[in-house]
């Protein structure tokens, strides 16, 4: 039986990181969709209904916190797991993101790309 490929939506304005995500996640067998700012992120999350969202917080137009708040308010989207991957390293930012409904918070300089992919897989299995 042909199982539907899981879809990961990445909200990230750093094109270098997005390229690496695309390569790594595609290799793992996932479909990837990208948004370069918060507004585009909300729009694509609503249309694509991904299985997992990887969310950067410092993105243009609408920051990651606002994106998180909006998707968690929407009953159709609220259940989608959100993995925050950000450069913000303060405990207050982590607490805020978790309080807003993020499933996990990872700081970009503390994790390798493989570790991020492993975490993503754990939410999709």
């Amino acid at each position: 039986m042909d199982e539907r490929r899981k879809k990961i939506l990445v909200v990230e304005d750093d094109e270098h990181i997005s390229k690496v995500y695309h390569v790594k996640l595609s290799k793992e067998g996932y479909d990837t969709v990208f948004a370069v700012n918060g507004e585009e992120g909300i729009e694509k999350i609503t249309i694509e209904k991904p299985d997992l969202i990887i969310l950067d917080l410092m993105v243009p137009k609408k920051d990651g916190f606002a994106v998180l708040e909006e998707i968690k308010k929407n009953p159709d989207l609220a259940k989608i797991p959100v993995l925050v991957l950000s450069n913000l390293g303060q405990q207050s930012d982590k607490d805020r993101a978790i309080a807003l409904g993020a499933n996990e918070y990872m700081v970009k300089v503390n994790y390798s790309m493989q570790e991020v992919v492993d975490r993503a897989r754990s939410y999709l299995s």
């Binding site: 750093d14 990181i17 700081v107 300089v109 503390n110 390798s112 790309m113």
Partner: protein, 270 residues
């Protein structure tokens, strides 16, 4: 060996330490310890640093997000400005195109402009993070404008006008460097707390800011001959101190920006 690899070796801490030590020992012991001043070589070394800064500017950085890129562009832009000011200082002093006092004071104002540039780069990040108004950054730009206008005025003014300048004017310039330098250090400490990607960079940027303030202090003493009058330290030695501090600061910044080329974590996979 690839050209980029060769450049990276030039910008390694070991190469830069060796370069600084070579400058120090050559200046102090070659030609009776005055050769580097008499020939203008001490100022000309800034040309080498401008080349190194340009290499850093055109290096490939692992990140491309809008906040980090903007920060980097502002910081590197002002870094290059500071390098060029010293090349200008070399040509101005060595070929006597510009008044000596005007050049010394311009160099001091250039440190103020650089420190303001550091603060503007940092504030551009804080503005987004804290969702702050543009008031502080506008104030910094206003000071920046004053600094740049000061440099222009100094370089077009007559020698007599500069000679008659009230003593409080350069003292105010130096005091502003100390105040903004302290603010730049506090802001650099703050940014590494907010964004750990800046942690390693800050280990080099903070001592570099301190060294630049010391450079400005030496330039200020040079223009007032304070060390000669009080401690019997010659103007040549004072000039050397200023340049040792400055070259060390340049070197630290070159290494610091290098740390932003390939930070740890997911950036290591870029």
């Amino acid at each position: 060996m690839k050209i980029s690899t060769f450049f990276e070796k030039l910008l390694s801490p070991y190469s830069l330490i060796a370069f600084n030590l070579t400058i120090f020992f050559s200046a102090e012991f070659f030609g009776g310890g005055t050769y580097f001043e008499e020939t203008g070589l001490m100022h000309a070394i800034a040309i080498v640093f401008v080349v190194l800064i340009l290499i850093r500017i055109f290096s490939e950085y692992a990140f491309s997000d809008h906040i980090l890129r903007r920060f980097l562009k502002i910081q590197l832009g002002f870094f290059l400005f500071l390098g060029f000011v010293h090349v200008y200082e070399y040509f101005g002093l060595h070929y006597s195109l510009i008044d000596h006092e005007a050049i010394e004071l311009s160099a001091m104002l250039a440190y103020l402009v650089w420190i303001l540039g550091v603060l503007i780069g940092l504030e551009s990040v804080f503005r987004i993070y804290y969702k702050k108004s543009a008031a502080l950054i506008a104030t910094l730009y206003a000071f920046l404008l004053v600094g740049v206008l000061g440099i222009i005025v100094l370089n077009v003014s007559s020698h007599e006008l500069i000679e008659e300048m009230e003593e409080w004017i350069p003292l105010t310039g130096f005091s502003l460097i100390v105040v903004f330098g302290a603010l730049a250090i506090a802001s650099t400490r703050k940014i590494r707390k907010i964004m750990p990607v800046f942690k390693e960079y800050s280990h080099y940027a903070i001592p570099a800011i301190i060294l630049m303030v010391l450079t400005a202090l030496s330039e200020y003493f040079e223009s007032t001959h304070y060390l000669l009058d009080v401690l019997d330290i010659t103007d040549t030695q004072n000039l050397y101190f200023a340049h040792y501090f400055m070259f060390a600061a340049f070197s630290l910044l070159l290494i610091g920006f290098g740390k932003l080329k390939k930070p740890k974590g997911i950036y290591a996979d870029m």
